[in-house]
Subunit: 398 residues, 2 copies
Amino acid sequence: MKPRTLLSLLFAAFATVASAQQALWGRPNVVSPQVNQDGSITFRSDMKGTDKLTVVGDFNQTSPEPLAMERGADGIWSATTRPLEPELYSYCYFTAEGKRLLDECNAYRNRDISTYSNIVIVSRERGDRGWLYSVNNVRHGNVAKVWYPSPTLKMNRRMTVYTPPQYDGKKRFPVLYLLHGSGGDENAWSELGRATQIIDNLIALGKVEPMIVVMPNGNPNCQAAPGEWGAGMYVPASDAIKTKPEATFVESFNDIVDYIDTHYRTIKKRSGRAVTGLSMGGGHTFGIALAYPELADYYGLMSAAPRWKGQYTTDKLYDQLNNDAEMNAAMRKLFDTKPQLYWIAIGRDDFLFRANADLRRFLDENHYPYTYVENDGGHIWRNWRIYLAQFAQLIFKH
Amino acid sequence: MKPRTLLSLLFAAFATVASAQQALWGRPNVVSPQVNQDGSITFRSDMKGTDKLTVVGDFNQTSPEPLAMERGADGIWSATTRPLEPELYSYCYFTAEGKRLLDECNAYRNRDISTYSNIVIVSRERGDRGWLYSVNNVRHGNVAKVWYPSPTLKMNRRMTVYTPPQYDGKKRFPVLYLLHGSGGDENAWSELGRATQIIDNLIALGKVEPMIVVMPNGNPNCQAAPGEWGAGMYVPASDAIKTKPEATFVESFNDIVDYIDTHYRTIKKRSGRAVTGLSMGGGHTFGIALAYPELADYYGLMSAAPRWKGQYTTDKLYDQLNNDAEMNAAMRKLFDTKPQLYWIAIGRDDFLFRANADLRRFLDENHYPYTYVENDGGHIWRNWRIYLAQFAQLIFKH
């Protein structure tokens, strides 16, 4: 045998080419996770050197749920959940000593900032929530990491651009601008948010218009996600964020729209544009609507942290909306232009519920029309995926 | 405090917005890996419940190298390598019980088939090998996941397409087709191979022509990488590979070239095309050169497993090249067309060294011109990154 390196599984495959398939691609001896017929999930691990192993997952809407694993006679730990609703679940393991571990049997994992969690999807039938988040046997759009110049922020910046399967030839398409939250980046919506799967699948179901989806980086002092720009592989975004930005993300937003309108076959008018975002991105959406009231016909605030002139205004939003003359006038101007949709979604347990209640109170008192969605749970990706699927079905229908 | 879910770090950030930066983005208490001034790397871990922890990495060219970690008074394990040459290194940890773990402090990791390893880059100066593999402060090309129709394989298929920073406006660009090995997919070269960094950086140094790089999926019964097509998230590629393909990848290759030539601003002639690949992809390159001798001017075989009509021929290649009349005639026809470059690269420890020696013996005896590169090491990504950087500098210069 020749020397074998850490990564040269290819070698192992090749040396025993006739029987290699099982060794190379076969599932590991420990199968985990296993989604059972009734929607329950069985987790397993061959972890050693600990007296206790716990799987912790977001199996209910509002809080993480620990589930003790039991070690069998074969030394394999396992635990099975109750039957679960169709959904994308995140989980990890904890040892007796409190050491957080991933399920090494599961190659599917998401990075949220610098923390990885495993993911697993439960789906019962076409069209359910788990199906919406899965890669199905439907036509898929293209997903590109695109660099664009931002004269406002004085740098080249990276964004994720989804073009629908129908994007070919001469037809023009509307554009959804989809904004991430604090700590996120241009990868957040396509990875944690399953945005490309959601849009692929909703197009396949005929429930949304084929659209371009643009997912920019909302951190005005970053060119791109950590590791994807010249700040260095191990420099977190915060090292850049701490320095003073040239301008706010909202001020730079037209750099993105200009690039998209000149490089893609877009519907270059208000009725062909929607903007939505989560948390800080909901705040950006709030600000974009005020700064450029005729840019888009559809605005969606998901668990929004309203921002005005680069600052969060969540503490005293109602007072500010009433008393800040410039902000008040901008709100009036926005609703004078009659956008097709001003949409607010938030979970009852969200720490930003109060700020959004302030916003609704102001809108109600001024008879500014909006659509409101309230559901269970808090400030979590599970809700943002739900909101995206809902919002996408409301836009570009006029 | 509201309920806090597993993934809602955003919430934590927000609740304590003034001081959140450190908690949210600050490096973990345990810093790992740490690249030191002299090029050594210090690894650390807060692993508990084991009496021994070992870091195993590819710190030399030919074999993985275990390094025992020591536990300090603070309970933190650590180990420091000797000073290392500029390079991208892969590593993982093993407990006393033989349990393989990742370095949870290092968010940078690569997936090879279903196995993750951490990665770390050592670089001393602009232009060295570590720098070539890093994301530097240079202009970046766009990277897209593109679906194309393959009439030959009767399916839509996914590929990775890199367009250089210069790709804008009306200029046309040459195309490098870059093929992965057995067990790989359309993500292999851009992730494990650092191909987009290598090409970005070599363009920035003025050492390669700006080029489009096309990285298709070479498994003819797969639409895409595992989890990226409708076969299901947990179905490995092998479940599809085991079924009979409609045709070989080589037979379907023109579907890719046709799509690229109609959707990108390419130089649509022989001098604007190069094909190279590793292992099985080297075999595909060997076959493409024989099947379509005037398609490209530049062919590169990296650690190639020569394939002919869908079958590996590595065991008796020299005899087959001489005795298979059709194969022999195809070789003659190829070299009669005088390709600009027929390039062979392999490591002295590669298990395919013998097959490539057979090929060279045949080429020598027939006075077919080729360029040969031989280096240390075996069938490993470290070599394929080196080969790509070398080959890219030889093409599109005529």
